[in-house]
């Protein structure tokens, strides 16, 4: 038997089986949520997403903007800095961050960094050349770091282990400020195109409760992959909360033991009565994900989805294009953001009826609902909702509405194949 010939068949069968088996969230489940008129509080309670008081978030809407601000945060730090990033690479664009952290560490500030092992497989945009992960550079800079779930040969005995990735991006500064969102510490995020980076979102806020929760999460993850144990007690949290406040739900997703993202998506689909916006560059549709959108549309909700041009990896763009026709046929409006500077829209934001908002690392795809560790903050707040809608209004100026003819042109074997592949890979 020629195994090489069999390989694509086996992979394809496995993916189809996995997606089919996972498509267990049905319309009846969503209908039940609507029928019972479950509140956001109830839905978040179901997934044990804790609720915390917080200040209003400050939005950073490009990778470069966040990059500059992160350097300020590092400069301000006096006690400790905890960073978890999906991608952390060795590149001149992000070297100022590593260098600033190293200088802070040398001055006595505790610095700990978690980077996912996927960082070992980053490519220069549009060039078949690998960018090195930051690990060796961090070592040379005497920084404390761990590689999350190393992709090593000794890990091959449980394949799902290799697929589980820490996709979260968050910063904790001195127990006073925390930030979550989509920006990695890599070239594509902060400096491609140069001086702009991805069109991406990080939010920064103050919330003693969420900060403590985030520290505990960081320490738990750190201790599993480090030879140097740390304790949450070593990281103090400033209990003060000044200024106008709101509330956030802390959605920390770890499938399958602590699966939350799918319920978060359900909450948005059932909360919306008029309008639902998904700003999601990496939407790789599955039957279950489509069903959720169809359900919202069936209730008279106007569903708008914003994808993007200029993905630095063509396979991601092709993968997200495959489902566009299904979305339009379902009645959704699909926009493609076409940045005048060639920046990819990497934000992961959803807003329902201009009030219920989430920002974080979760994409509207199968991987974020399952294999990836994700972190999102959810707000039920008109003021935040309006701010996000205003921002979407700005993005719309540079976006086009996809016609059904254009959507049909996306349906090729290559987009289908990449769409299938990205269910697990993307």
């Amino acid at each position: 038997m020629d195994m090489k010939r069999l390989k694509p068949f086996v992979i394809t069968t496995f993916l189809i089986l996995l997606i089919t088996l996972s498509s267990c969230s049905t319309t009846s489940k969503l209908q039940k949520i609507v029928d019972h008129n479950y509140s956001v509080e109830h839905m978040m309670g179901q997934i044990e997403a804790p609720e915390f008081e917080s200040t209003y978030p400050t939005f950073y809407q490009t990778g470069y903007e966040w990059h500059k601000h992160s350097l300020d945060l590092i400069a301000e730090a006096e006690d400790y800095i905890l960073i978890s990033t999906f991608l952390g690479v060795e590149h001149p664009a992000v070297f100022p961050v590593w260098k600033a952290l190293s200088e802070k560490a040398a001055s006595g500030v505790d610095v700990y960094i978690i980077i996912d092992s996927s960082s070992n497989f980053q490519m220069v945009p549009f060039v078949n050349e690998r960018i090195k992960a930051a690990f060796m550079q961090l070592k040379e800079l005497n920084l404390n770091f761990v590689e999350y779930n190393s992709l090593s040969t000794s890990n091959i005995f449980l394949i799902p282990n290799l697929l589980t990735r820490d996709h979260r991006k968050y910063w904790i500064i001195d127990g006073k400020k925390i930030a979550v969102g989509g920006v990695n510490v890599n070239q594509t995020s902060v400096d491609y195109p140069s001086g702009y980076g991805n069109t991406d979102t990080m939010i920064e806020l103050t919330s003693p409760g969420a900060t403590r929760e985030l520290i505990d999460t960081f320490v738990e993850t750190w201790n599993k992959f480090s030879s140097q144990s740390i304790s949450s007690n070593n990281f103090s949290v400033d209990p003060n909360l000044e200024g106008e406040t709101t509330k956030l739900w802390f959605v920390n997703h770890r499938w399958p033991t602590n699966s939350k993202v799918a319920t978060m998506f359900d909450t948005f689909a059932t909360y919306a009565e008029k309008e639902l916006w998904l700003v999601q560059g990496y939407t790789f549709l599955t039957p279950k994900l489509l069903k959720r959108i169809e359900f919202a549309i069936s209730r008279g909700v106007e569903v708008n989805i914003m994808l993007s041009e200029y993905s630095t990896q063509p396979k991601y763009e092709m993968a997200s294009r495959w489902g566009v026709l299904d979305l339009i046929k379902a009645g959704a409006n699909v926009y493609i953001f076409d940045s005048p500077v060639g920046s990819f829209l990497h934000s992961k934001m959803i807003v329902a009826d201009g009030k219920l908002v989430t920002v974080g690392s979760a994409n509207y795809n199968f991987r974020s609902e399952t294999l990836s560790l994700e972190l999102n903050f959810v707000f039920e707040d008109q003021k935040i909702g309006q701010e996000v809608l205003d921002y979407i209004g700005e993005l719309l100026k540079e976006s086009r509405l996809v016609t059904i003819e254009e959507a049909e042109s996306f349906r090729t074997f290559r987009t289908w194949y990449n769409h299938l592949l990205m269910q697990i890979w993307g």
Partner: protein, 171 residues
């Protein structure tokens, strides 16, 4: 039913990264002995590790495994039960710059009882010292470990070398 079974199996093997601290892992190693207990060929060691205090780096580990001689037709495999404990942790060790990942040198001592695979006969006992054992959090690698082996049948001592050993936590 098959679908449910497949999902359950998938869920089970996917639980691995989500427990607080590591509990269960596997071990592979390669041994060589100068002892009346074994012949002079290589012996492969495969086993499971159970972490008694999952959240502690120094935690004692219970080991259950099998010793498989290279020439399995001439010599029967054996079963080993062991208890391993870290002696100390050295973060600033000499090879720290040789590894990509953050590491610590944690010498271990491991005491084992070795039984016959086919009958409940105590075959031998061993004391293994692993001075060059390096821990990476989810994985430990040891090279050049030394054995002291006591053969119950022959009533004599021998020695051995564990050329390398990899321990990887899975759950």
């Amino acid at each position: 039913m098959k679908k449910v079974l497949i999902v359950l199996i998938f869920l089970f093997i996917s639980l691995s990264l989500f427990a607080t601290g590591w509990v269960l892992g596997y071990q592979v190693g390669l041994d060589g002995y100068v002892s009346s207990s074994y012949n002079l060929d290589e012996i492969f060691q495969v086993g499971l590790n159970l972490n008694l205090v999952p959240s502690k780096l120094y935690s004692p580990i219970i080991k259950v495994g099998t010793l498989i001689p290279k020439n399995i037709n001439k010599e029967a495999p054996l079963v080993n039960f062991g208890l391993s404990s870290g002696v100390f942790v050295w973060h600033n060790h000499l090879l720290k710059n040789a590894f990509r990942r953050q590491s610590a040198q944690m010498p271990r001592i491991e005491a084992s009882l070795i039984l016959s695979f086919t009958e409940p006969v105590l075959h031998s006992a061993s004391l293994l010292f692993k001075p060059f054992n390096y821990t990476f959090g989810d994985k430990e690698v040891a090279v050049g470990s030394a054995y002291l082996v006591y053969n119950f049948e022959a009533n004599d001592f021998g020695w051995g070398i564990r050329v390398f050993e990899i321990n990887h936590w899975l759950f």
